[in-house]
């Protein structure tokens, strides 16, 4: 269980002005819940994720995981990055084993474990390839395998499928769902896609920008296991309604902003 209370952070921008990146964020993520976080760019969703990961400091509030306050990166969490963050010089096997290596797992065990994960994400046979020889979708499979290899209880995903094409993205979503069904763990998943947020999440956290705040938490009562093939959830009325509702809310946020921007003196 992740408990976030009163989380706040102010950055000093390049022009010297203070930017309230996060303001009084309160959020509880249940054990083994798949939580998606949706919001316009600049709403602080990635900042919040990196704070949970222990990679960024904050000014106010508290983050606790399983009752223990977060003070930095820890073995209970692992992260999947937007631009994959793979080591270009290392093979797929070594990339997947990287987290285990940092955790001090011996060579034999980490290779064995990495091979299992590589086969789980469907990359068997590519163990000795380098990231440069793989497609974007395959690279993110490596990123996912690396994160799962350390057996985290919390998986943090920062727009993981944002850098791949639409078709690959759908396949990856399905694979992620299948993996999660087999091996449930707590997931915090950042996205800017309404469809993705609804398809994957048990709840969708909607954030608004300036200051970065939680605007609403929308439960997604779609049955699991979910899939997006024919007859899948995407045709259910719940899916359609929630996606439409989220888009309405997001559009309001954009309108508010454009009104604010338009109300100033014209230059």
């Amino acid at each position: 269980m992740i408990e976030i209370s009163g989380l706040g952070k102010t950055f000093i921008g390049q022009d010297g002005a203070a930017v309230r990146a996060l303001d009084d964020v309160n959020l509880t993520v249940q054990e083994n819940e798949f939580l998606t976080v949706l919001g316009p760019s600049g709403c602080g969703k990635t900042t919040m994720l990196k704070m949970i990961a222990g990679l960024l400091p904050w000014d106010q509030g508290e983050i606790a995981i399983g009752g223990a306050p977060v003070r930095g990166p820890g073995p209970d969490r692992s992260m999947v990055f937007q631009n994959f963050a793979l080591l270009p010089w290392a093979t797929v096997l070594d990339n997947v084993a990287f987290g285990l290596r940092m955790r001090g797992v011996g060579k034999k065990e980490r290779e064995e474990r990495s091979r299992e994960l590589i086969s789980l994400v469907g990359l068997s046979g590519f163990e000795s390839k380098r990231p440069g020889e793989l497609s974007g979708g395959m690279q993110q499979r490596v990123g996912l395998a690396r994160a799962l290899a350390v057996e985290p209880s919390v998986l943090l995903m920062d727009e993981p499928f944002g850098a791949v094409d639409e078709q690959t993205r759908r396949l990856l979503q399905e694979e992620l769902l299948a993996i999660w069904e087999k091996n449930r763990l707590t997931v915090v998943f950042i996205t800017h896609s309404m469809e993705e947020a609804v398809l994957l999440g048990d709840r969708v956290v909607l954030m608004s920008a300036r200051p970065g705040q939680i605007s609403e938490i929308v439960p997604v009562p779609l049955e699991r296991p979910r899939s997006s093939d024919v007859g899948g959830v995407e045709r259910s009325s719940d899916y359609v309604n929630i996606t439409a509702y989220l888009w309405e809310r997001l559009r309001e946020m954009h309108e508010e902003r454009s009104v604010v921007a338009g109300s100033g003196p014209s230059v």
Binding site: K50, A53, G54, L55, P73, G74, P75, R77, S78, M79, F81, N83, A85, L87, P88, W89, A90, F98, G99, R101, M102, R103, R130, G132, V150
Partner: protein, 269 residues
């Protein structure tokens, strides 16, 4: 592209390599030289064939190999020092910006100063021995090494560092597993470019500071108006430089084959 290449006969494809073009331009160059040397050449402009003859004769003499040995002593020691000092300094400068603020000005001085100008200073302070030649080769080469290594460390993707930290990597592990391997392609490039400068330094120091070895041969042949031998000596230096640079380039590709610059078909910088 691929299918078009496949349709061409094998001998055409074999010919379509960098080497073919390099040999082609060399043949043109040699022809032009030959014509110029024959028509306008005087005492100090031998023809291409005269130079080749003199070259063959030169590499048969003991004097030449002695000179090579003495010159290369300074090259080997000086270059080794440049790499041994330059790589760590470049890495540190790349990682710690504050330190760089203090040292940047000296680096720029090394980069833009005509090195010949400091030769008298060197001679006055350390004399004419091997030491001063080594020092000059080192300062010639070290700038290239430092600048490239620094750039290499700096362009390591910060996302990789963050990734490593998220898995609990210590600062030491970030150095060993992310920064050093990430900078390796640039480190190798710096070493290769530094090698080129080291050869330059080796020759310049012998021409301007201590008439010795290869530099002395050049001065001597010039004094005797022996054009062919003068050109042959210079050719020998060029050949050595080319061989060394090619070896460095080979090593670069071997050590960091993942780097975009080292992939097959990538052009040399």
């Amino acid at each position: 592209m691929v299918t078009a290449a496949r349709r061409r006969p094998a001998w055409v494809r074999a010919l379509d390599s960098n080497l073919t073009y390099q040999i082609g331009t060399f043949v043109l160059f040699a022809l032009g030289w030959q014509v110029y040397g024959t028509v306008w050449g005087g005492l100090l402009v031998p023809t291409f064939t005269e130079t080749v003859e003199a070259f063959v004769e030169l590499v048969g003499t003991r004097e030449f190999w002695d000179a090579m040995f003495v010159s290369n002593q300074a090259l080997v020691i000086g270059f080794a020092l440049a790499v041994g000092i330059g790589v760590p300094v470049g890495v540190v400068l790349g990682r710690f910006r504050t330190l760089e603020r203090y040292l940047n000005v000296y680096l720029n001085i090394l980069l833009v100063t005509p090195m010949a100008a400091i030769i008298p200073l060197l001679v006055m302070s350390v004399g004419f021995g091997l030491l001063s030649r080594v020092i000059l080769v080192t300062i010639f080469a070290i700038v290239m090494v430092i600048v490239n290594v620094r750039a290499g460390v700096r362009q390591v993707d910060p996302a990789l560092i963050q990734m490593a930290r998220s898995f609990g990597a210590s600062e030491r592990e970030i150095w060993m597993r992310i920064l050093i391997p990430g900078a390796l392609p640039s480190i190798m490039t710096g070493i290769r470019l530094g090698l080129g400068r080291a050869v330059t330094g080796m020759v310049i120091v012998e021409l301007l500071m201590v008439s010795l070895a290869l530099g002395n041969l050049i001065l001597e042949y010039r004094g005797m108006f022996n054009g062919p031998a003068l050109y042959a000596t210079i050719a020998a230096i060029l050949i050595e430089a080319l061989v060394l640079i090619s070896l460095a380039r080979l090593l670069e590709r071997k050590v960091a084959p993942w780097a975009p610059n080292n992939q097959k078909g990538a052009n040399q910088r």
